[in-house]
């Protein structure tokens, strides 16, 4: 078991439950020592993937490699993998000390006491060693679950929605804590979550999953700035998606959106189809009175009317209607509240953005994919 080490690779991994395909031939490479997140709505197959790596589900097909060893058919107790379970699954009849020592004792490790004490102080629970799990708060239980898994120094640590049961403030705190611990121990972390913010805060690399498939894999910035599918564009943050048709291709691709000309860098066009969704994030757009030409240099511009204006503290959000656009293709604009905005509801406005902030997706995809899901979670 000790010689199983290296990157974690999922090769054409597949899991069916009867007729339902939970995980659909996914291929993922997770480099040793990285913090990796599987992000997606409930039922997307992320937890099933995690359970297959842990050995709690047998794959229908495919391989799970750590280094060169295929561990897909090994029993959970023969894998150098440990899990932090959703709602922790601490053993209620054992005290904190014995919970943390459980893995060491099963493997017949010698210096249990020193290791457990060191681990308990790492998660700042020294004083609670003889308490039962039910006597601890949610945040403390979470740290016990982490300590119980980490003490075994696994090759891969799996985290199944580990922060889901905590309140918002504690969750933020634990996100930073988890990231710190991961950097300290250098173990590969695979983190399953439906919370895009959580994934983006912690992970080096995120795989966005939907309906058993990986929609897109990349760094948080890569996914956010350059989504390759409408699902990713909507599930991570918000996007304006407009009906467009490619007119000319070069370094910049020219797209016609209801009679308006929009420029997009060729590298940010994810399709060779002529019909596209033209996307731009609401916070990338500048909004000003129609007479104000300060942002003309940016390149992409539309003229419209402000339908709604709502002040929400950090920003002011506008919904702008552009003449000639479809009814549901109104443009959302978020403006930082640096100065008082000159724009009011009902005003004629000029909205401008940099072509480098524009992306184009295949128009065959559903413009609302991932939208409702992101809100429901």
């Amino acid at each position: 078991m000790d010689q199983i080490a290296g990157d974690l690779r999922l090769v054409s991994l597949r899991k069916e439950f009867g007729d339902f395909v939970a995980v659909d031939d996914i291929d993922i490479l997770i480099p040793k020592g990285s913090f990796f997140a599987l992000l997606g709505p409930s039922g997307c197959g992320k937890t099933t993937t995690l359970r297959m790596v842990a050995g709690l589900e047998l794959p229908t097909a495919g391989q799970i490699l750590i280094g060169d060893h295929d561990i897909a058919s090994l029993k959970p107790y023969n894998r150098p993998v440990n899990t932090v379970f959703q709602s922790y699954a601490l053993f209620p009849h054992l005290d904190i000390y014995e919970n943390v020592a459980f893995g060491l004792r099963r493997r017949g490790v010698k210096d249990v006491a020193t290791q457990v004490e060191a681990m308990l102080s790492l998660v700042e629970l020294d004083a609670f060693a003889r308490r039962k799990p039910s006597q601890l708060s949610g945040g403390q239980q979470q740290r016990v679950a982490l300590a119980r898994a980490l003490i075994n120094r696994p090759e891969v640590l799996l985290l199944d929605e580990p922060l889901g049961a905590l309140d918002l403030k504690l969750r933020r705190q634990m996100q930073l804590e988890l990231k710190r611990i991961q950097t300290e121990v250098g173990i590969t972390f695979v983190h399953v979550t439906h919370d895009q913010e959580e994934a983006m805060t912690m992970a080096d690399t995120i795989a966005v999953m939907n309906q058993g498939k990986v929609e897109q894999l990349g760094s948080p910035m890569d996914l956010y700035e350059n989504p390759k599918t409408t699902f990713v564009a909507n599930f991570l943050g918000q996007s304006n998606l407009l009906t467009g048709e490619v007119m000319d291709r070069g370094d910049f691709v020219g797209v016609k959106v209801w009679g308006n000309h929009i420029k997009i860098p060729a590298s940010r066009v994810a399709t060779t189809n002529a019909k596209v969704w033209v996307g731009v994030r609401p916070e990338k757009i500048y909004i000003s009175a129609e007479s104000n030409h300060a942002h003309d240099h940016l390149g992409n511009q539309l003229i419209g009317t402000v339908l709604e204006r709502s002040y929400i503290g950090v920003s002011t959000q506008f919904i702008v209607e552009i003449p000639g656009f479809l009814h549901d293709e109104k443009i959302m604009v978020f403006e930082q509240n640096v100065d008082a905005s000159e724009v009011m509801a009902g005003d004629q406005v000029r909205i401008s953005w940099d072509p480098a902030h524009t992306f184009a997706l295949d128009a065959k995809q559903d413009a609302y994919a991932g939208d409702v899901l992101a809100e429901a979670e």
């Binding site: 842990a54 029993k75 107790y77 209620p92 459980f102 099963r106």
Partner: protein, 265 residues
Amino acid sequence: MTWIRKNIIMIVGLLVLFYMFIPVFVVIALSFNEPKSRLTYTFDKFTFDNWLHPCSGAEAMCPSVMVSLKIGLLSTLGATILGTLMAYALMRYRFRGKGVANVLLFLPMASPEVVMGSSLLTLFVSASFPLGFWTILIAHIMFCLSFVVVTVKARLAGMDPRLEQAAMDLYANEWQTFRRITLPLLAPGIASAALLSFSLSFDDFIVTNFNSGSTVTFPMFVWGSAQRGIPPQVNVIGAAVFLIALAIVVLGQIIGARKRKALAA
């Protein structure tokens, strides 16, 4: 009037409890009786003799109590072990015929004891198996089994399967997981199943009577002596059983309260 209306539920409750406990009070009272003749059930004279010398005066009683205790303990042991393993298999594994097994388990509980006793007798006789201690034991393990399975299954159903998965994840193999996690968490369920088995076995008359051959258990002794007049020592055994049961329940409550208190602290 208003006082009655306010406390009517309490009053009715106490009356029901009183109704339930009259037989017990009578047994306890009669255990201190010194009857003038064999046939009387009236309270003649108060004495401690029955409690001090329970085995004298009714010679066959004490051996029959020993038989019942032995059968009770052995059938409890057998039924509890078998039943716990069965419940575990039914809850944690998928296999062919699981649904049928689940339904069939209820059958011994639902079928009348007379039917069960007589059919067992037919079985033993046709297999020319000698009736006696062992046939009683086999019968008792059989009818206790269903109760154990149902009790332990209920406990297992309330147990998060992730606890066992977590143990496996932490390098415990199947046996270690059962021994270190499942069994300790099932213990309260198993204990109550064992208590239930013991009282079912100790108490049983109908099935036992069919399959006992020449072996005499305590309920059979009481039945036999009832036709001539029950010796007061029987009431001593009855009262003792009641008091032991009471002690176990009270002890359980105290331990439970302590645990809750410790958790709250």
